[in-house]
Structure formats: C-alpha cells, structure tokens
C-alpha cells in the first residue's frame, strides 16, 4: 500500500504539504523513497518533456517498521508553470512517490496536481 494524503491543487508561490504512507510489504527491500512534485511541458502531443521544474525529497526507509509515514512540504515558486492545456502546449504537474527496491522493480504511486495561478 502506497497512500498519498495531499491536496489535489496548489497555487504558485505557496506551500504544498502532505503525507505519504507506505505499507510493510512495499517497504521490503527498499533502499530509498523519493517524493517529487514534477512538471511536464509537452508540445504538439509529443512525448518530449521540455520542463526542468522538479521539487523532491528523499527518505531512507532503513528505520521503518510496519508503516512508514513521510510528511513532505515543497515551496512552489511564483514563476512555476501553471497547469495549462492550450492549442499545442500542455503543462501538467504530478506528485510521484517512488520506492527504489534492491534487485526488483520499483514501486510507485502517482497523483495529478493542479497548479493554480
């Protein structure tokens, strides 16, 4: 179980706070947990992401027992791209939780976040 407790929208220039909960099973063999608020800018429906906007925090699950709770907060800059869907341009934000597991596929959970003006 990877659970995200965080708002689905945030305004530019404000703080984005939340908590991620990771269950015992998902923590097995984990060496790192990354919580990241990532922007994706695409043009013309192509896959290329032109954005370099990313805020992230890394946690070590070494000391975790049954349930790993990760409170996080990111300060969103006033110039951060808003969520936008135009004629050819699109800007989206996602909160990504990635559990890096030794010798196995990563475990992850994603959530769409709307960046408001």
């Amino acid at each position: 179980m990877i659970k995200i407790n965080a708002p689905t929208s945030v305004s530019r220039g404000s703080e984005y706070k939340g908590v991620v909960e990771i269950g015992e099973r998902e923590l097995k063999g984990a060496r790192l947990v990354e919580v990241a608020l990532c922007n994706e800018i695409t043009y013309g429906g192509k896959e290329a992401n032109y954005s370099c906007w990313k805020m992230s925090k890394k946690f070590s699950p070494k000391d975790a027992r049954s349930l790993f709770q990760l409170p996080f907060d990111f300060r969103v800059e006033g110039e951060a791209p808003v969520t936008y869907k135009g004629k050819r341009l699109s800007s989206k934000w996602k909160l990504n939780v990635n559990v890096d597991v030794v010798g196995a596929g990563d475990r992850w959970r994603r959530m769409d976040v709307i960046m408001l003006r």
Binding site: Y43, G44, C52, G86
Partner: protein, 143 residues
C-alpha cells in the same frame, strides 16, 4: 540604401525593471531607432503578443524547427511612410484582465528560448522598401 541600414538598429525598451507584469497592468515602453543615416520606411509598428512556442535544444541530434502559435495580439502604428532619423517612439498596451500567465520551462530563466512554453513579448517593426525590414524584440513575464 540597403547598405546604409547595416549601421541602423531598432530596439525595444520597457519602463518596468524586471519586466514582470500582472493581468490588467499597462506595459509601457519605447521603440528606439539608432542610425547614422536617414532610414526610409513605409511604416513603423509595435505589437504585443502572447504565443505558445517550442524550440528544441540543438544537441547534435535531428534538428527540428522552432514553432510559434499566436494566441493574442494587439498592434499600434507609430509612424507612417517617411524618412526617419535616430529617435524614439513611446507606446503602451494594457494587458487583458484575463491574460494567460507566462510558462517558462526552467526556473530563473524568464527569457528562455530553448524548450517550450507560453511567452509574452513586444515586437517592433520597420517596413523598409526594397530592403530588409528591421525588427526588435523584448520578452516579459506575466504572473
């Protein structure tokens, strides 16, 4: 006439330092012609534009041309057909109250010209008969 233009330059200046604006705000500035000789022009214009743009990084791979889609534009005529010597034209444009916010692909790079985004800019233009038109450009940020 065309050769004389190589010593001429058109530039845009904005009054506000930092070039950061909010919807509904006035964008004030000037278009400046620097020249040693008189420049014969069919007209002088200034435009404010909001565009979606894409300009891929030139990393040695397959080169793709930059693209721009016009979303909003206003134009003002600053001068008609005339012989112009060095000088300045003042202009101002009101941003719409629902102006789209700028989208920049990298933090701290408000003038980025590689990647993709949504940008606002002022474009000055002198229409030169039998010669190369003169252009000037200044980007600004809308919150």
């Amino acid at each position: 006439m065309v050769f004389g233009l190589f010593s001429s330059k058109l530039s845009v200046g904005l009054e506000k330092r930092g070039r950061e604006y909010f919807p509904g705000e006035l964008v004030k500035g000037h278009l400046k012609l620097s020249t040693l000789k008189e420049v014969k022009a069919r007209g002088v214009k200034v435009q404010i534009r909001c565009v979606e743009w894409m300009n891929p990084k030139k990393d040695g791979g397959k080169e793709e041309e930059g693209k721009e889609i016009l979303l909003w534009e206003k134009e003002k005529t600053l001068g008609k057909a005339h012989k112009y010597s060095a000088g300045e034209w003042k202009f101002e444009f009101a941003l719409p109250k629902n102006a789209l916010p700028s989208i920049i692909p990298e933090p701290c790079k408000k003038d980025a010209n590689e990647g993709a985004g949504l940008k606002w800019y002022i474009r000055g233009h002198m229409d030169i008969p039998n010669g190369i038109d003169m252009h000037a450009y200044k980007q600004f940020f809308v919150y």
